[in-house]
Amino acid sequence: MNLFEYQGKRLYKDFSIPTPKSIFISNISEINEDHELSYPVVVKAQVQVGGRGKAGGIKVANSFKELVKFSNEILGMDIKGHLVESLLIEEASTILEEYYISFTLDRSKKEYLMMLSAKGGMDIEEVAENNPEDLIKLYISPSKGLNSESITKAIKDAKLNEDFEDELKDVVSKLYSLFVDGDCDLVEVNPLAITDKGVSALDSKVSLDMNAIYRHDNFVEFESEIPIPVSEQFAKEKNLNFIKLDGSVGIIGNGAGLVMSTLDVVSEHGGMAANFLDIGGGAKAETVTAALEVLESEDNVKSVLINIFGGITRCDLVANGIVEATKGKNLKWPIIVRLDGTNSKEGLTILKDNSNENITISSSMDEAAKLAVEGAS
């Protein structure tokens, strides 16, 4: 889960990583003259999209009057389709140097990767492409961790300002702690700056590994602050993995691979999927019922394809869910069901015993997709 800048900076504060003094507001009435920041201050739109500065989402205010004016202008602004609903107001820094640093997991090497560069403040992908020697890459053993000597060497190799070596070492080590102990998929600071007040993380890009939510209370809090598209809210409440798409064939399946593949096969038969909906592994009857409820609230759905290949998921439970959701109902669209794998015989028997004229059972994925495309046209 990608965090907003202000959320990432809250984590920085938890790990004693220096960032500018700031206030966070989501309503203009929250600003008053006795705030404790000294001017100039930077008013920053909180949106999860690059290029907000160029779009007018970042402004420097030299007085309270300007602060109010810019805040008014930026709140409610649309930046590349993202509505600005909150602002981070920070004390401006006098920047002497700008660096880049990030921590992530390198999936091919199966190790953590730290990247460090003296060329921060700009598009780092450009640096990586045009001047790869300016981007230091350090692989870190996940079981051994990052030691002090490696940090010192990386700082030297990247040619960062040696006058600030101790301070930089401390910040690098704390960012690594946040990455590991904070269960982050990504911690990226661009720029990590040397300012007149010392080393400071001026921006934050943090992504959390939501599989670790059970050991971090603040993940829940962060999640509640991130707006979900209206179309995905209902599914989210039901704990379903749902993404709205543009077509008319509603899709329900188990396992991300099979569902993606169902999208592909529907497309091959000339149709377009209305959504991606994965009921996951080991789904119960209630999960399937909820999935059908989600599609019922979608206007663009004209037919529904349920494609289940039981492994850990049991087809009899899926069938019970379908029966439960459709019993005695006048369905607004045809449902094509394909069940294979674990307990599929039992599942098909349940469907036959509770037959519904709008439900068609198909014996193959290909045929089911074809029928669903026909049903939607």
Binding site: L105, R107, S108, K110, E111, Y112, S141, P142, S143, K144, V180, D183, D185, D209, N211, A212, Y214, R215, N241, I243, L245, G253, N254, G255, A256, G257, L258, V259, M260, S261, L263, D264, V265, S267, E268, A273, F276, D278, G280, G281, G282, F309, G310, G311, I312, D340, G341, T342, S344, S364, M365, D366
Partner: protein, 289 residues
């Protein structure tokens, strides 16, 4: 021969007393897999449908000669369970558990590599089956048939789809393996491709990938250099809209890296036959054999 498991594989199930663990362990046993033990701290001495439960994997190995662990332990405890099985000497650990934090997976992989010679399959995988010999995991064995095609996939349910397409055409499988779609899989496409290349029973290979990451591109490199047996491949997600995260931690498309077309291109260039629809996998293999 099959790869990684055979008739002599003896399985200890971690989490046999849980609902999922019990259901699938008993299915495996019914199929003929030697499910010799289960573990659950504090429940040593009990039995589940005749399978003895031990307090630790070490004890289970001592008493039953188990050499393979199958793990259904919930995410918060999965790392310790896998390490316990490895330190106790299991040659193969099949971790079915879904939802393990990436940090736990990375640490676990690192420690296994450093301190043990155990092979980990998964986490978040359906396990593996060598039809007619052994089934360790959650794959529905009804759809399999003993034969000479090796199947490897990142996606569980798509593995089943591919196997069914083969079986429907009376083409059997040597071993079917789901490596899982998590950030740090213990066993990679390359490990399995290498196994199939050196396996006498396997004459052709089906490899199923999906968008995101670079595992398929790396596998393509390996195929080009090291695999002489024919490979049929399918990549899921050709029509997935870019930038949408579709469930699997692995299935993330960013920029032009990890797209279905980049993967298809790499595999085609490596000499694999790439099909556009999973239901064509069976026919493509039939045409080759």
């Amino acid at each position: 021969m099959s790869i990684f498991i055979d008739k002599e594989t003896k399985v200890v199930v971690q989490g046999l007393t849980g609902e999922q663990g019990k259901f699938h362990a008993l299915r495996n046993k019914e199929y003929g897999t030697k499910v010799v033990a289960g573990t659950r701290p504090g429940k040593g001495g009990e039995t589940v449908e005749g399978i003895p439960i031990f307090n630790s994997v070490e004890e289970a190995i001592k008493e039953t000669g188990a050499n393979t662990a199958m793990t259904f332990v919930p995410p918060p405890f999965a790392k310790d369970a896998v390490l316990e099985a490895a330190y106790a000497g299991c040659e193969l650990i099949v971790c079915i558990t879904e939802g393990i934090p990436a940090k736990d997976e990375a640490e676990m992989y690192d420690l296994l590599k450093e301190k043990t010679s155990s092979r980990l399959l998964g986490p978040n995988c359906p396990g593996l089956i060598s039809p007619g010999k052994s089934n360790v995991g959650i794959m529905p064995h009804e759809i399999t048939l003993e034969g000479n095609v090796g199947v490897v996939s990142r996606s569980g349910t798509l593995t089943y789809q591919a196997v069914l397409e083969l079986t429907n055409l009376k083409i059997g499988q040597s071993t079917c393996i789901g490596i899982g779609g998590d950030p740090v899989p213990g066993t990679s496409f390359i490990d399995v491709l290498d196994g199939f290349q050196n396996d006498d029973q396997t004459e052709a290979i089906v490899m199923i990938g999906e968008i995101g990451g670079s595992a398929e591109e790396e596998a393509a490199e390996f195929i080009k250099k090291n695999v002489s047996k024919p490979v049929v491949s399918y990549i899921a997600g050709l029509t997935a809209p870019p930038g949408k995260k579709m469930g699997h931690a692995g299935a993330i498309v960013s920029g032009n890296k990890g797209t279905a077309s980049a993967k298809i291109e790499a595999l085609t260039e490596a000499g694999a036959t790439v099909v556009k629809n999973p239901t064509s996998i069976g026919q493509a293999i039939k045409d080759i054999l």
